[in-house]
Amino acid sequence: MNILSLLFYILSAMAVGSAIMMLLSKNPVKSILWLIVVFFAISGHYILLNAQFLAVVNIIVYAGAIMVLFLFVVMLMNLNSTVEPVKNFRMQLIGIISGGALFLIILSSLMKGEGKAQLVQMRVGDAGLIKNLGNVLFTNYVLPFEIASILFLSAMIGAVVIGKKA
């Protein structure tokens, strides 16, 4: 087992473990913090895959901006002190069972064909570098890039329309 595999397993365990912890913690703030841990773990995976740009963006945008926003809202609502009421056990069980079943079914459906092992390029490859991505983004992907601005405009308008105190 090489170091990459080891790192992969560690990061994977960290991601899944924190994700489960996020589910299990009663306190919303703690959930948010666990989620941030998951995001860091995923960023770690990106680095393993040599997707440096995404790793950075993930930390800045997700773990940074978005999660902070969540945290901010939770704080704003003063939910940190109150503990969320739990769903009744049966519903939770059904939820877990069906979520798990979905996982298994998708997984098994993927395994249906005779899959020859396909390897993933790790640690090398320059496609994920900022220079390359920037190049592609502003040439091939200029149209979606521009259009994404409309998304933000509408989100902005939405925030105004909805957020403004009536």
């Binding site: 059904i94 069906s98 079943a101 979905l102 079914i105 998708i106 459906s109 249906k112």
Partner: protein, 632 residues
């Protein structure tokens, strides 16, 4: 030379014209005009019939095709008449007796409103038209048209006084019972169409067609035709309408329910003798049905107190005799009896009408008595009728009945038995007819004083037909004097081109003995009646067996219990349970199921996002399973 025969279509058309004029002009025409038109057209038809008769007597017959009625590539049916000896004989009876009855009606119905008077005559004319169509029809369908037409007219005339619920019920009963019979007729026609492809008499009775029919076919067809005949000619099991039909005006009873319509069955079987002669089973059945009817009706007649009912049952009984004749293959005898019966039964009905007229509408003989003093013509003519029907030698009934009895006796195997039972029925006839005569015309008057005061002889328009018919009742028999009595049986030889006359194998001496026996016994039974009823006192309702007879063996009640009530119950069951709960319930059930489904599906939409997502995830699971784990 056949101009007359070519004009034969006028015979039915004339009454039809009378019907139309009287029917449409019922508001504007006065009674005189109506009578003239009503009787005039029949008289004209009678005159034509006589001329036609003369033609046919000299052997001229005609099959006239007027227009196509139903013309298909596989089947064709014309509107055609067949005028031969048989039909022209019936033409004479219908128009002749019909005319007399029309004349009689002008007086009898004189008290009716102008409008109703015209209505009455138009119906009567329509009846004559239908009856003529029946006998003149050149194929089974035209015959059937007349067949149903007379049923209709009978319905209309029985229900002539439509405000009386009982009368209209009787009319319905007549029509429906007739229809049951008609059904048999109709099915026989279909059978013929299916097998022979034609319903034309000549075609069907031709050897080639008959050869196409198997024994089953012939038995089936003849049986079905006979069912038709039982309906129209009031035989068991379809006879009960005829006594009830007495609800109609008395001349109607005379014309329709004695002289003409009820003999349609005999005519039809005589007409189809070629078929019937080949169907032994049917013939046997006809004989026994006729015999049973003759006995049953006669037994009922003994205990009836309504003057018209007695005559009605007598008619049924006499029709039974005719069927015995038919069943024994003695077609000529049957036709002969039709002829004589038409005379004397019409006579008696008209006589009873005269009595009822005089009694102011009273029909119960228990309230009559001693009418002979008040209305001699009626009484004497009625007596002649009774003598004729009883079969006193010299009167017409004697000859025709004798021929039937002789025919019965000569049947191979059970002839003597048949003869004796038939003779017994004939004795009953003599008995109840004279019972009627004695109770009505002799003894003391038992009615109210006003009635007694009111008693009078009927006007001449009524008595003249009586007299004419009385004369005919006496002499009518001489057209068929048997060889044994030195006659030539002119009727048989006249009808021979159409109807094969039976040559019975009895020796003249046997015939003499038979005649003597029957005559003696008839006299005995008249004497018995004289003994019993010369001093008749009104009595209450009969008891014991008499009650059964008085209540007509409870046949009506039996029919009600066996057929009518179960049918109505079954229909109500269909209507209330099968229709509403079953079929409609099923239809509505689909609607209800949809609504129920709507309510259930609605519950899924509980408003809980968690549940929604869960259900959607389950849906995803389902789709994945279908896509990847279900065999295609």
């Amino acid at each position: 030379m056949n101009t007359i025969l070519n004009l034969a279509w006028l015979i039915p058309v004339l009454p039809l014209v009378g019907f139309i004029i009287n029917g449409l002009g019922r508001k504007s025409l006065n009674k005189g005009m109506v009578s003239v038109i009503g009787c005039g057209v029949i008289l004209a038809a009678f005159v034509l019939s006589v001329m036609v008769f003369l033609q046919t007597k000299s052997g001229n017959t005609i099959n006239a095709h007027y227009f196509d009625f139903i013309q298909l590539s596989s089947f064709n049916l014309g509107f055609e008449f067949k005028i031969d000896q048989l039909s022209s004989l019936f033409l004479l009876i219908i128009t002749g007796v019909g005319f007399l009855i029309h004349v009689y009606s002008t007086a009898y119905m004189h008290e009716e409103d102008n409008k109703d008077f015209a209505k009455y005559f138009s119906y009567l004319n329509l009846f004559v038209f239908s009856m003529l169509l029946l006998v003149m029809g050149g194929n089974f369908v035209i015959m059937f048209i007349g067949w149903e037409g007379v049923g209709l007219c009978s319905y209309l005339l029985i229900g002539y006084w439509f405000k009386n619920t009982d009368y209209t019920k009787a009319a319905n009963k007549a029509f429906i019972m007739n229809r049951i019979g008609d059904l048999g007729f109709l099915l026989a026609v279909f059978w013929l169409i299916a097998k022979v492809g034609s319903v034309n008499f000549d075609t069907v009775f031709s050897a080639a067609s008959l050869a196409k029919l198997s024994a089953t076919d012939i038995t089936g067809i003849t049986l079905l035709l006979f069912v038709g005949a039982t309906g129209k000619s009031a035989q068991i099991p379809l006879y009960t309408w005829l006594p009830d039909a007495m609800a109609g005006p008395t001349p109607v009873s005379a014309l329709i329910h004695a002289a003409t319509m009820v003999t349609a069955g005999i005519y039809m079987i005589a007409r189809s003798n070629a078929l019937f002669s080949m169907a032994e089973l049917t013939m046997t059945i006809i004989t026994f049905v006729g015999l049973a009817t003759a006995l049953l009706a006669a037994s009922i007649a003994i205990k009836q107190n309504d003057i018209k009912k007695v005559l009605a049952y007598s008619t049924v009984s006499q029709l039974g005799f005719m069927f015995i004749a038919l069943g024994t293959g003695n077609y000529v005898a049957a036709v002969f009896h039709v002829l004589t019966h038409a005379f004397f039964k019409a006579l008696m009905f008209l006589g009873s009408g005269s009595v009822i007229h005089a009694m102011g509408g009273e029909q119960d003989i228990r309230k009559m008595g001693g009418l002979h003093c008040h209305m001699k013509i009626t009484s004497i003519t009625f007596l002649i009728g009774c003598l004729a029907i009883s079969g006193i030698p010299g009167f017409s009934g004697f000859f025709s009945k004798d021929e039937i009895l002789v025919g019965a006796f000569s049947v191979h195997g059970y002839g003597p038995v048949l003869y004796s039972i038939t003779l017994f029925a004939a004795l009953l006839t003599a008995f109840y007819m004279f019972r009627l005569y004695f109770i009505t015309f002799t003894g003391k008057f038992r009615g109210t004083h006003e009635q007694e005061h009111h008693l009078h002889e009927s006007p001449s328009a009524m008595t003249i037909p009586l007299i004419v018919l009385a004369i005919l009742s006496i002499i009518g028999g001489f057209v068929g004097v048997p060889e044994a009595l030195g006659g030539h049986h002119q009727l048989a030889s006249y009808l021979s081109p159409v109807v094969k006359s039976v040559t019975h194998h009895l020796s003249h001496s046997t015939e003499y003995i038979l005649m003597a026996v029957s005559t003696l016994l008839v006299f005995a039974s008249i004497a018995f009646a004289w003994m019993k009823y010369k001093n008749y006192q009104a009595e209450g309702n009969a008891t014991g067996f008499g009650k059964v007879l008085q209540n007509k063996w409870y046949v009506d009640e039996l029919y009600d219990v066996v057929f009518v009530k179960p049918l109505m119950k079954f229909s109500a069951f269909l209507n209330n349970i099968v229709e509403k709960k079953g079929i409609d319930g099923l239809v509505n059930g689909v609607g209800k199921a949809v609504q129920y489904g709507g309510r259930q599906f609605r519950l899924l939409q509980s408003g809980q996002v968690g549940l929604y997502v869960l259900l959607m995830v389950v849906g995803m699971l389902g789709l994945f399973i279908i896509q990847f784990f279900c065999k295609k």
